[in-house]
C-alpha cells in the first residue's frame, strides 16, 4: 500500500520535475546551416519581443520562452515560410504586442502622425524665424 502511494506520488511529481529541467528546444541555441536562412531568421528575431523580459527582443534573451520562440522562428524559416507569415502567426497567438515592427493601425497612428507633425513644425519654425532676414 505504502509502495503504491510512493509510486503514485512519484508519478505525479514526475511531470513537474520534468517541466523544470526541460532542455531548451533544439534550435533555441543553434543556428540554421544555411547562412541566408539564418540571416533571415536573425532579422525577424530582432523585431520580435521577448514577452517575459523587459524591452528585449527574443534574439537578446536567455528566457526559456524566448528560446522556444527562436526555435519556432528558425524551424519555420527552414521549412520555407516567409518571415511575414511567421510574424502574423506569432501575432495571432500572442497579440500585436509581440512585434516591434511598427505597423500603422487604429491604435498606433499617433506614432507616425506626431513625427510628421514635428517635421511640419520644424519647417514652420525655420520659415518664421528666417523669412524676414534670409
Amino acid at each position: 500500500m505504502r509502495a503504491l502511494a510512493i509510486l503514485l506520488a512519484a508519478l505525479i511529481a514526475l511531470p513537474l520535475a520534468a517541466q523544470d529541467s526541460m532542455p531548451p528546444a533544439p534550435y533555441a541555441y543553434r543556428q540554421l546551416d544555411d547562412p541566408e536562412q539564418e540571416a533571415a531568421a536573425q532579422e525577424l528575431m530582432e523585431t520580435l519581443r521577448c514577452l517575459k523580459c523587459q524591452s528585449q527582443s527574443i534574439a537578446d534573451s536567455d528566457a526559456p520562452m524566448a528560446g522556444d520562440m527562436r526555435h519556432q522562428v528558425r524551424i519555420r524559416i527552414a521549412a520555407g515560410e516567409e518571415p511575414g507569415e511567421i510574424r502574423r502567426w506569432l501575432m495571432d497567438r500572442y497579440g500585436d504586442y509581440v512585434s516591434y515592427q511598427p505597423v500603422m493601425s487604429a491604435t498606433t497612428w499617433p506614432l507616425f502622425a506626431v513625427p510628421a507633425l514635428l517635421v511640419g513644425i520644424a519647417g514652420l519654425l525655420f520659415w518664421r524665424r528666417f523669412r524676414r532676414r534670409a
Partner: protein
Amino acid sequence: MIAEIGLAALWLAAALAVLQLVGGVLALRGGIESELAGLTRPAAILQGGLVAVSFAMLLWVFAITDLSVKLVAMNSHTMKPLIFKLSGAWGNHEGSMLLWVTVMALAGALIAGVERRLPERTMQATLAAQGFVALGFYAFLLLSSNPFERLPQPAVEGLGLNPLLQDIGLALHPPTLYFGYVGLSVAFSFAVGALMTRQVTPDFARAMRPWILGAWVFLTLGITAGSYWAYYELGWGGYWFWDPVENASLMPWLAATALLHSASVLASRDALRVWTIMLGVVAFSMSMLGTFLVRSGILTSVHAFAVDPERGSFILFLLALYIGGALLLFALRAGSINEGERFSVASREGALVVNNVMLSAILAVVLLGTLYPLLTEAFDVRVSVGPPYFNPVGAVFAFPMLAVMAVGPLLRWRKDSWARISKEIALVAALLLAALILCTVLFGTALLPLLGLSFAFAVGVASFLPLKGRNLLRVPIATWGMVIAHFGIAVALFGMASEGAFSQEKLAALEEGGTTAVGPWGVQLESVDPIAGPNWTAMAGQLDVSYKGGEPTRIAPESRNFWAPAQQTTESVLVTRWNGQLYAVMGGENNDGRWQLRLWWKPFVTFIWYGGLLVALGGALALIGRVRVDLRRRSVRRKLAMRRNDEKALA
C-alpha cells in the same frame, strides 16, 4: 544610533531648505537688505553639509551591515564584498533618492558659496527655487521612503542583492546619472530665478553654463557606461535596447545638449533668450520624468503602478508641481522678455537653431515612443515600440542635424554667407558622397548603417575644420572641447554603424576539445571547470581563441549560479583588439554532453564607447576652459577694485 543621526540630519536639512525658500522669497519682495535674505546663502551651505552627513551615515550602516535597519536587511548581505555593500547603499530606491538629494544639496551649497556674478536679487530667486525643488525631495524621502527606518526585530540575515547588479558598473552608473540630473536642476533653478527677476542676460547664461556642461558630461559618461554595462552584462551583445529606462537617461541628455548650444548663443550673442529658458525647463522636466519612470514601477506595468501608487504618485505630484509651475511662470513672463538679438539664416546662430530644433524633435520622438505604450496600456491595448521604430524615425532628424553640425562651426556669428565657406561645404559634401558610394559598393548593407558609416567619415573630418588656419597653441580650450566632442559623435556613430553592418554571430555546441570559428577568430574549448565564488558557483569554459591563426589567448567565460537570491547569470568575456571585440558567452550543457557557446565578432564596436568618452572629454575641456576664463575675469575685476580703492585712499 548611526541611523538616527542620519535621519535627524535629514530633517534639519529639510528645515534649512524651508529657511532658504522663505529667505529667498522675502528678498525678492522686500529687497536684498532684509535680515532673512542674509540667511539664504548660509542656509544652503549648511544644508549641503547636513545632507552629506546623512549620506555618510547611510554608507556606514551598509558598511557594518546593520541588519536592524530595514533598508540594509532588504538589500544587503553579510557575505557580500565590502565594495558591493557600499554600492548597495544606493542600489535601491531609498538610497538612490538620498544620493540624489545629497548631490542636489551639495550643488546648492556650491552656488550659494561661489556664484557672485548675477544680480543679488536673481541669485536669491535662484536659491529660493533651488530650496523649493529640494524641499519636495526631502518630503518625498522623509514621508514615503525613509532610508533609515528600523525593523522592530533585527533580521538574522540580509536578503542579498540582485546578482546582476553585483558589479562595479552599479557602483558608478547611477551616481553619474544623478550628478547629471542634479546639474540640470541647478540650471532649472537659474532659469526660474532669471524669469522671476526678468534678468535673462548673457551673464545668466554664463553662470548657468558650467552647470549644464557638468551635467552634460556626467550624463554622457552615465549613458556610455550604462550602455557598456548592458553590453557585457546581459550577454547577448546588444548595447542599446531603447528600453524605457535607457530612454529615461537619453531624454535629459538630448535636452541638455540642446540647452548647452542655446545657452552658448545667449552667452556670446544675447540671442535666443526665451528659447534657452524654455530648454532649461524642459531639461529638468526630462530628469524628473526619468526619475518618475524608473522609480515609480510604472514601467513593469501600468497596473503594477496602480497596485502601489504611493511613491509614483508622489513623484508625479512633484513633477506636476515643478514643471507645471515653471511652465505657468514661463507663460506669464515669456511675453515680457525680449527675444534678443536677431540673426540671419547663414550664421552660427542659424546653425545652432537647426541643432536645437532637431534635438528637440528627436527628444519628442523618444518621449512619444517611451510614453505611448504606457498610455495605450492604460486602455488595455498593448503595443510594442522598439528599435525598428526609434532607429529610422530618429534618423530622419539626426542625419540632417549631423550635416549642419559638420559645417555650422565654420560660420561666423550674426551674419555670414554660404559663399565664404563654400569650399569647406563642397569638401564635406564630396567626402560624404564618396564614402556613401564606396560603402555601398564594398559592403552594400542596410540603409541606416550605410548612412551612419558615411556620415561618420564626413563629420569626423569636418569636426577638425574649425582648427584650419589657426595657431593650434592659441586655440581656446573651449574650442578644443567643441572639436573633440563633435569628433566623438562621429567616432560613436562609426562604432554603431559598424556594429550594425559587420557583426558576426556564432552559436556552437562543442565537446571538450572541439573547435569552431567566428569571423577571423578560431575558438577551441579546452575544458569546462566548476569553480566557486563567495556567493556563487559557476561552470567556466576554458577557451583558446586566436585571431587569424595567431598566438592563442586563454579566456574563461562563466555561467554562474547565485544562491542569495537564487539566480543564474552569464559572465561574458571580451577580447578587445583595436579593430573590434570578440564576445564569448558560456551557455548550458546539452543532453549529449556538449556545451553551448555564444560567440560574436563585432568589428569596431568599441568605437561606440570611445566616442562617448571623447564627447565627455570635449565637454570637460569646454567646462575647464569656461571656468578658467571666468576665474581670470573675476581676479581681474578684483584687482581693478583693489586699485580703485588704493587710488581713493591715496587721494
